[in-house]
């Protein structure tokens, strides 16, 4: 398998001189295509910053970031927007669905920015919703859906542009145990379909469902191939 994500000596530093905060320092990480991994670490460990850099939402201060063979570390905002639109799907803890749009229109939104013609948009959005098991909820507004259903709409939105990478930020943080299992099952299924899945989580139970854990502490990667079974309360705190 070839590498989809290669972080080389990545640093992200906020402020300057004596107020300097090193959110990330000398991070080296490779994620291959088809990988299914979780990013963990105590709060303040830099995992969210790493996630933003990986998701092309933020630029590193130093280092080289190869995404799908392209050096994206210093691209401008609009170029990054195009990469996010075509190659990356996002799933957030708070779903971030637009309340005035139907499930179908929410899912179709990335294709609107991708310039897909309307007829094809509707068809692909319906297919994506079917894939997450919401074929009968196309016209519902988010307020008419349960939390688990809303997150599944968000997943459908994330995969509708057939991304290489599915990036999930605490995707089960707002869900109960049953719906968490449902959502994790969808991630597993999508991963088997060939999509690389990276998720930030602080729940060991969720992390155990992924193939490996990348452990962050103090802005650095401590373990890159931690067995999910090794996660204990102690490692989580420490």
């Amino acid at each position: 398998m070839s590498a989809l994500i290669t972080l080389q000596n990545i640093a992200k530093v906020y402020g300057s001189d004596n107020t300097e905060v090193k959110a990330l320092w000398d991070v080296n990480l490779t994620i291959t295509q088809g990988d299914y991994c979780s990013i963990m670490g105590p709060s303040g460990s830099g995992k969210s910053t790493a996630m933003n850099v990986i998701g092309c939402l933020d630029r590193p201060t130093q280092g080289q970031y190869l995404f799908d063979g392209q050096d994206v570390a210093q691209l401008d905002d609009d170029a990054l927007a195009i990469i996010r639109n075509r190659k990356i799907g996002f799933v957030f803890q708070q779903f971030h669905l637009l309340p005035q749009l139907s499930a179908l229109d929410n899912v179709a939104l990335p294709m609107v920015y991708g310039g897909v013609p309307p007829a094809e948009r509707r068809q692909r959005a319906a297919e994506a919703l079917q894939r997450v098991g919401l074929a009968n909820r196309l016209t519902n507004k988010p307020s008419q859906l349960s939390g688990g259903q809303q997150q599944r709409v968000a997943i459908a939105r994330a995969i509708v542009n057939r991304p290489l990478l599915l990036l999930a930020d605490e995707p089960t943080g707002a869900l109960d145990t049953t719906t968490t299992e449902e959502v994790m099952a969808i991630f597993a299924e999508l991963n088997q379909g060939g999509i690389t899945v990276v998720m930030v989580t602080h729940e060991p139970a969720v992390a155990r469902l992924t193939q490996r854990v990348v452990w962050f502490r103090d802005g650095q990667v401590i373990h890159t191939h931690m067995d999910p079974e090794e996660i204990s309360y102690g490692t989580l705190v420490g």
């Binding site: 609009d78 939104l109 990335p110 310039g115």
Partner: protein, 408 residues
């Protein structure tokens, strides 16, 4: 994302909060309605005055005492140097002039039996009725014999006749004008007010009678007049007439230097241009005042859009995360602002046009909503949206998606 997509999205967003969109538009609606109706009102006033001036006839000349300098002093100090003999001389000696009327207006108390009325007493000569293009409703107008004999005869304005006599026949009745008895020989048809003089509420008597019995001689040169009106043979000879009258009067008044002229001549064109200048300035002033409300409406839109950007920070962050460029976001908010202001402009125009129609029903002004005013108002309100929408839209476009997504 193309323009059509952005437009649809903006319409959807605005439709989702109808009350807020409506209230935001209200400022522009009021602004636009007032601009349209104020400009319409000004335009109506201009038409009204122009109509009055045009009803004077195109060939008329007004010869007014005083020069431009002394007239500026205005009121009581206006020099009165025109006399009846001037008018007669013009009638006899200026070939391009057909008819000449001299008018002298004084206030008077008119009495019939136990009824009193205050009215203008206008002394004039028989040519008045042809020069001013008036007609009589009953009886006759003043004749040459009345002038020669200083007859105590009077022609009443229509409204005054109605006030004094109500249902009775006015002709042949005796009335008293400042305690001098006059016989009513005619009643004018309704004329309306004209250049500030209400001929419907006036008594018209021979100017000679007026001088000998009511006011006496007030000038060493003869019977003094307020102004002289004359009609030229046709519109081509208007300039000739003006030139000849000027020369004749200078000769009669012994004036060598044109700067010392003690009279000046106005024709319909000069009156029209003076009226146009005044009404144009008035219209502009009304429009300027109304524009302030349009401006306030624009600021209202900016205000609400700024609030909207703040409220929709997460939406903006999400849109950016899934691939919206800065331009997409900028366009989205800009289009929302322009839709609000342009729609407000259209509604405001409808309100303004109906307001004008109402106004022209209730007043003599035939107020009209000019096409130019409508195009201008809608265009201006659209640009107001564009102008005041830029700041909020730029703010939205510049938002950092990470910060925007994390904000709650």
């Amino acid at each position: 994302m193309d323009f059509g997509e952005s437009f649809q999205m903006a319409v959807k967003t605005l439709a989702a909060s109808k009350l807020r969109s409506g209230l935001t538009m209200l400022g522009i609606i009021i602004g636009n309605a007032s601009v349209i109706s104020m400009v319409g009102l000004g335009e109506g006033g201009r038409l009204y005055i122009n109509q009055q001036l045009q009803s004077l006839g195109p060939n008329i000349l007004f010869i007014v005492p005083g020069n431009r300098e002394t007239r500026r002093l205005g009121g009581l100090e206006t020099s009165r140097n025109l006399v009846l003999a001037d008018a007669e001389a013009i009638a006899q000696q200026v070939p391009s002039v057909v008819d000449v009327a001299a008018e002298n207006t004084t206030p008077g108390l008119i009495t019939f039996l136990n009824r009193n009325a205050n009215a203008s007493v206008i002394g004039t000569n028989p040519a008045f009725i042809t020069v001013r293009n008036f007609t009589t409703d009953q009886g006759r107008f003043l004749g040459d014999l009345d002038m020669q004999r200083n007859s105590a005869v009077a022609v009443l304005g229509n409204a005054l006749a109605e006030r004094l006599f109500e249902d009775q026949v006015a002709l042949g009745q005796s009335i008293r004008v400042n305690n001098v008895t006059f016989e009513v020989v005619g009643v004018l048809a309704v004329q309306g007010s004209n250049l500030g003089v209400n001929y419907d509420d006036a008594v018209i008597i021979p100017i000679t009678t007026q001088a000998s019995r009511l006011v006496g001689r007030t000038s060493p040169f003869g019977i003094e007049v307020s102004f002289i009106s004359a009609t030229a043979r046709d519109s081509e000879s208007l300039q000739t007439a003006e030139f000849q009258v000027t020369n004749l009067l200078r000769l009669r008044h012994g004036i060598v230097d044109p700067a010392e002229d003690d009279f000046f001549i106005q024709n319909q064109d000069t009156l029209l241009s003076i009226a146009d200048t005044i009404t144009g300035a008035l219209t502009l002033m009304l429009a300027a005042i109304a524009s302030i409300s349009l401006l306030v409406g624009g600021i209202g839109i900016m205000n609400i859009m700024l609030v909207s950007v703040r409220e929709r920070t997460q939406e903006i962050g999400l849109r950016k995360a899934i691939g919206a460029s800065q331009q997409d976001i900028l366009l989205q908010f800009l289009i929302e602002a322009v839709i609000l202001s342009a729609a407000g402009g259209v509604i405001g125009t409808l309100v303004g046009v109906s307001g004008i129609s109402l106004l022209s029903l209730l007043t003599p002004f035939e107020a009209t909503a000019s096409g130019a005013a409508i195009v201008l108002a809608v265009g201006v309100s659209g640009s107001i949206g564009l102008f005041f929408g830029v700041i909020p839209a730029r703010q939205a476009a510049k938002l950092d998606p990470i910060v925007a997504l994390r904000s709650i």
